[in-house]
Amino acid sequence: MSLVVSDLSVRRGTAQLLDGVALTAAPGVFTGIIGPNGAGKTTLLRSVAGLTPSEGGVELSGRALSGKVARFSSIAYMPQDLGAVSALSAIEVVLLGRLRSLGLRVPRELVTEAEAMLDRFGLLGLQNRTLDTLSGGQRQLLHLAQAMFRQPDVLLLDEPTAALDLRHQVIVLEAVAAHAARENMVAVAAMHDLSLAARFCDQLICLANGRVVAAGSPESVLSAERLSSIYGVETEIAWSPGGRMTITPLRAT
């Protein structure tokens, strides 16, 4: 169930937001998309999700996902913002992940499954709380629970850890990596934090000015020279005795 994106281009007015982007994301593998602001990370995720019109191909295990319906049924996309604040309860947010299965009555099995999903994120105790009473971290976890409840073939996440404290950042990324491995799901996340990307992602794709400039393992993509040329920041890359990579920004160049 590999996701193959080929020659994807997005143009808005005279601006070329994406220019012939190609990437392959294998199932069970956590792919990170990195790059400076304006590089096209969000546009890439949105056009793969079918939310932004684009040219080029998106295939899932050899099957072209041409129409919006095909995209929405296979791909779950989590936007960067935390969504509207409303009086929806936590369990309703998760249930909405299976919109097509919901009728005037909600099947009991579906509720049980939704509760189990909330439980995996430690949110079961909050199931009847409304969105407005949850913290930013809890809401982000809730949206992630909804996305996983959809049982998508592909999960696209835009900055999933942007609003979260350190603990919630780790919980979210661990959950994505574990779910991808267990369910053989394609997981792709746009990320700003390079150390977190190096820690959790199996492969990284580096975008700049709407083009892929590097792709491969975190070790191969995250070199000091590349970060200097792409981000304009001098960095120090260190390896812990356990083989973990840390990236310390030193100064803007």
């Binding site: 936007p79 969504g83 369990i91 919109l99 995996r120 199931q127």
Partner: protein, 358 residues
């Protein structure tokens, strides 16, 4: 992850305590109470009136065949009070439902059937019909209601057309709607300015909104519209609930947001036209009823839309009682009463609410 927590909560879940089932039951109970309260208000509304009838006589006239009751009482109950009460029910429910739908599709707490200028345009249509004195050849009694509907439809077409050219987003629709509202208010003022004093009086009385114009036929038409659109939106309850997460999230869940917004827009126009055409511009119910309903049952549109209709009917039937009691022996136009009662109600809600959503 959190395996111990799973085991600890599994027992609680299987025993059925707490969870979603109890939330659903609580909602069902509240909606049930709503219907019971509505029934009570309806009965009181029929019992009360300018004719000072004995409550027992009214009930006998209402429930038993004509030969068991005084002919005068029978006529008052069946030809005057019952159509008015039924009209209050239908119009209140229509405006409550239309308001909730409007707030959902426009993602805005200030939205109501009147926000986008439908009622101002309906008022303008009715005023033109009154001013010109034209009558439809076959349906003279329906000239003013149809003119009001035509006005409302014109406003809807303008708002939809302008929004369509740009984008069917809440912001564009609200801006186009407010501009349309001002346009038709100005046109209405122009008609009133041009009208002779006795015509002006007739226009102003129409605009007040009054249930006294109700007949069984108008109740049947407005009620038919209410039932029809309820059936139309039945398959969309969950899609509308998804819309409360924001356009992008709803879209990525597979909701065709623009199509849904267009459909609900048409539904709201129908509901508002059906309500306004026969009773005039009764304000505020469409704004306050959805807020009350949301406080009681939350955001699941299966419960919210039903409860908004029940609350709207309750508020309007209550206002109808108040309209009869304020000046005993007379009938204050209900349009005046709804705002007088509704505004303190809404202020109370605003000041009491600690919630961050609307």
């Amino acid at each position: 992850m959190q395996r111990s927590r799973s085991e600890a909560t599994a027992a609680a879940l299987s025993s059925g305590g707490g969870g979603y089932a109890s939330l659903a039951r609580r909602r069902a109970r509240i909606v049930g109470f709503g219907f019971a309260a509505l029934f009570l208000v309806v009965v009181v509304d029929i019992l009360v009136g300018p004719a000072f009838l004995n409550a027992w006589d009214v009930l006998v006239a209402l429930l038993l065949p004509a030969e068991h009751s005084d002919p005068t009482v029978h006529v008052i109950v069946h030809a005057v009070r019952l159509p008015m009460t039924l009209m209050a029910l239908v119009v209140g429910a229509s405006l409550g439902l239309a308001g909730a739908l409007m707030q959902t599709i426009l993602a805005n707490p200030l939205a109501s059937p009147y926000t986008l200028g439908f009622s101002a345009a309906a008022g303008f249509g009715a005023a033109v019909a009154i001013l010109t004195g034209v009558e439809l050849p076959l349906l003279p009694r329906f000239t003013i209601p149809l003119a009001a509907c035509a006005g409302g439809a014109a406003a809807a077409l303008i708002v939809y057309g302008v929004s369509r050219l740009r984008s069917l987003t809440p912001e564009v629709m609200i801006l186009a709607g407010i501009a349309t509202l001002f346009l038709f208010q100005s046109l209405l003022s122009l008609v009133q300015y041009m009208a002779a004093p006795e015509v002006l009086q007739e226009i102003v009385f129409w605009l007040f909104g009054s249930l006294a114009k109700a007949t069984y036929l108008s109740v049947a038409i407005a009620g038919g519209i209410l039932i029809l659109v309820s059936l139309l939106i039945l398959p969309d309850f969950w899609k509308l609930t998804a819309l409360r997460l924001g356009d992008d999230r709803a879209r990525s869940l597979g909701v065709r947001v623009e199509r849904l917004r267009t459909k609900v827009f048409v539904v709201v126009v129908l509901l508002t036209a059906g309500a306004v055409a026969f009773v005039g511009t009764i304000g505020f119910v469409g704004l306050v009823a959805p807020h009350l309903a949301r406080m009681l049952v939350g955001e699941d549109q299966r419960a919210l839309l039903v409860m908004s209709a029940v609350t709207g009917a309750f508020v309007l039937a209550g206002a109808s009682i108040a309209a009869k009691l304020i000046a005993p022996g007379a009938l204050v136009p209900i349009g005046i009463v709804t705002a007088v009662i509704g505004v303190p109600f809404l202020f109370g809600l605003l000041l009491r609410g600690r919630r961050r959503y609307w």
